[in-house]
Symmetry: C2
Subunit: 371 residues, 2 copies
């Protein structure tokens, strides 16, 4: 097992409360000393992410934005910001949590501080993460849906509502649906115990996840299968990171062949643009892509769909994305644009239901020196 | 526990194979006796569903459509039909299964019988169910995604890949994500053993499912919570039916307040239009609606969104839908049209995170004589 020294320490509710109160105190002190209160944040755009040489993940650069009470918008923002902190401290004290959607509805009772849309309240929750250097999970805020699943020989301990830890082996103690990843997979909630696996295969679609299970790929290759359910939730990316870091298991990412799937890989391996403030926490820079490429479409003569205008725009945007400036990605993206076609991972079924586990994946893993 | 006499018998692969071969034999006999082969199917539209008085579920009426080899389209259809049967028999023999999407891609190798779209192959799979009176599960065809989940005191046995049955209590043996419902929940795969519950609460959104879990609603009311994940998959509706029938537990359905949520309830309680040939198998006519209504929007003064044109069309279509011709539904649909507003179940958070479990649901269940 690889070193666990980078494991994040357990964050107590009381510590989060102190951090948040510190932020409020700073705002108060500005006001008391006659200054106009303001907050500074890195700008969270594609043009402001840079590669951190030490950790090989993409983080925000130097460019910042400012929220100042000098303008009406900025003043409203600060009032909402304080209401949100108040709401979070209330949850911390009563041991509650809330979905981001519930927080948006809760603001109905905040008079002028009521959010105009959930987009606005979600953004503010992210700002608060950036400013406090804490996580949404520490604030007890969670997304609407999660529920990605794991099948394979990995044993975890999960804390239940009563505070007891329950041991679950994700191969022996679950049904065919696997172990469902909860929204909070931090150390205080979930412990990674032992494993008997060689690597993790993270899979975009449910159909392909079930195919690998049915074909016994996990047992034959000693693989842990993780169903990403499309663009993976934070908790899914976080558990991949922890399994990679704490258990030393390599991560392979098996997706469809289209620009949105390339982004899925990007968010796992390099960090997502919207969450670059926690790339250290979520990204697995050594993750390898074994999804469908434009070259695969040609080499395997796969059934395809034509690229839509949106697909073309997304590919062109990826050509400008600092995360995709490698020979491999530039060549694959340009090939996809030139053939103007995309393909799904399930299109391998053209050659029969076993082709993916008998031929495609062994070939890909062999190229990577893994099988 | 209620009687289990209606429990569906275990369907063996060899029996399914015989059934399918019988259909092929009929087609062959037509050809041998010089007739043009054809298939007759009930038409699967809103205008051809009728209430079955005996079982109180909606089934197809007398109107039929015909697939005859006399036309080029009909002949192509019959060839595809035979290819699909051949593919299914192959799976039955090798103990494999396939997603509907994989079957569509598999048809790439069928020359002229290749499907033009997945819609076409899905429809043919449904036709085959209607003609054979068997289930998609018997054909080893499964949908792309499932993964709805259960939390509560209900114990099941699920057969794993090796053919062993594993016992899982959906309260004590699972993490916070709950037990994931597999795609096949028929008797040969899943046994319902024991329970310690008073009723089942089926919930549309993940946010509300987690809210009820966090607030301990399941423990306080002895409830089994089922997360529907939007429009429920067949396996989710089937397990609700089995829990209702075999364990005698009442089903309450808690959804958003909009026309799509009314349809979710309709598909659970009355049967869906597309699957009316198996309404007996899926629908729970005694299911009760405790979701958000137009009256709730007014009485609780809930945060709302304006109806879109699509919402209005869907509501108007429901006014003509034979399943919604009750006083309750006609009044609620007309009220929603007149106020031109819809509301989500999470909008109850306007009154705090506990309001739904302290006030809203106890009131609704009280009205229904359940709490």
């Amino acid at each position: 097992m690889a070193g666990t020294r980078k494991r994040r320490k357990i964050q107590m509710n009381s510590e989060t409360e102190q951090e948040l109160k510190g932020i409020v105190r700073n705002i108060l002190e500005s006001i008391n000393s006659g200054e106009i209160p303001e907050l500074h944040l890195p700008s969270r755009t594609r043009d402001n992410i840079v590669l951190d040489q030490l950790t090989s993940v993409w983080k925000y650069g130097e460019s910042t934005t400012r929220r100042s009470a000098k303008s009406l918008d900025g003043a409203e923002y600060l009032v909402k910001f304080l209401y949100v902190i108040d709401f979070i401290i209330e949850m911390l004290k009563t041991n509650k949590s809330s979905t981001l959607r519930e927080m948006y509805y809760i603001s109905e009772g905040w008079d002028l501080a009521k959010f105009g849309s959930q987009g606005e309240s979600d953004l503010l929750a992210e700002d608060l993460e950036v400013i406090s250097k804490l996580l949404r999970e520490d604030f007890k805020l969670r997304p609407e849906e999660n529920g990605a699943s794991i099948i394979g020989d990995i044993t975890i301990e999960e804390k239940n509502r009563k505070g007891d830890f329950k041991t679950i082996n994700c191969k022996d103690d679950v049904g065919d649906g696997g172990y469902t990843i909860p929204y909070n997979v931090e150390q205080e909630k979930l412990h990674l115990k032992t494993h008997g696996a060689n690597f993790v295969m993270a899979i975009e679609t449910g159909g392909m996840f079930d195919r690998l299970v049915e074909n016994g790929f996990d047992e034959r290759f000693n693989a842990v299968l993780v169903h990403l359910k499309g663009q993976p939730a934070r908790s899914t990316r976080r558990i991949l990171k922890r399994v990679n870091q704490e258990m030393g298991l390599p991560i392979y990412v098996f997706t469809d062949g289209d620009p949105w799937s390339f982004r899925i890989f990007g968010s796992i391996a390099y960090g997502a643009i919207k969450t670059a403030h926690i790339s250290d926490h979520l990204a697995v820079p050594t993750a390898e892509y074994v999804g469908i490429t434009a070259s695969d479409i040609l080499n395997y003569n796969l059934p395809t769909d034509k690229l839509t205008d949106k697909d073309v725009n997304a590919l062109q945007s990826e050509l400008k994305d600092p995360r995709f400036q490698t020979e491999f990605w530039k060549a694959e993206i340009e090939t996809m644009l030139s053939i103007s076609k995309k393909a799904e991972q399930q299109s391998l079924a053209k050659y029969g239901l076993d082709y993916v586990t008998e031929k495609y994946l062994p070939d890909k893993l062999g190229e990577l020196g893994a099988a």
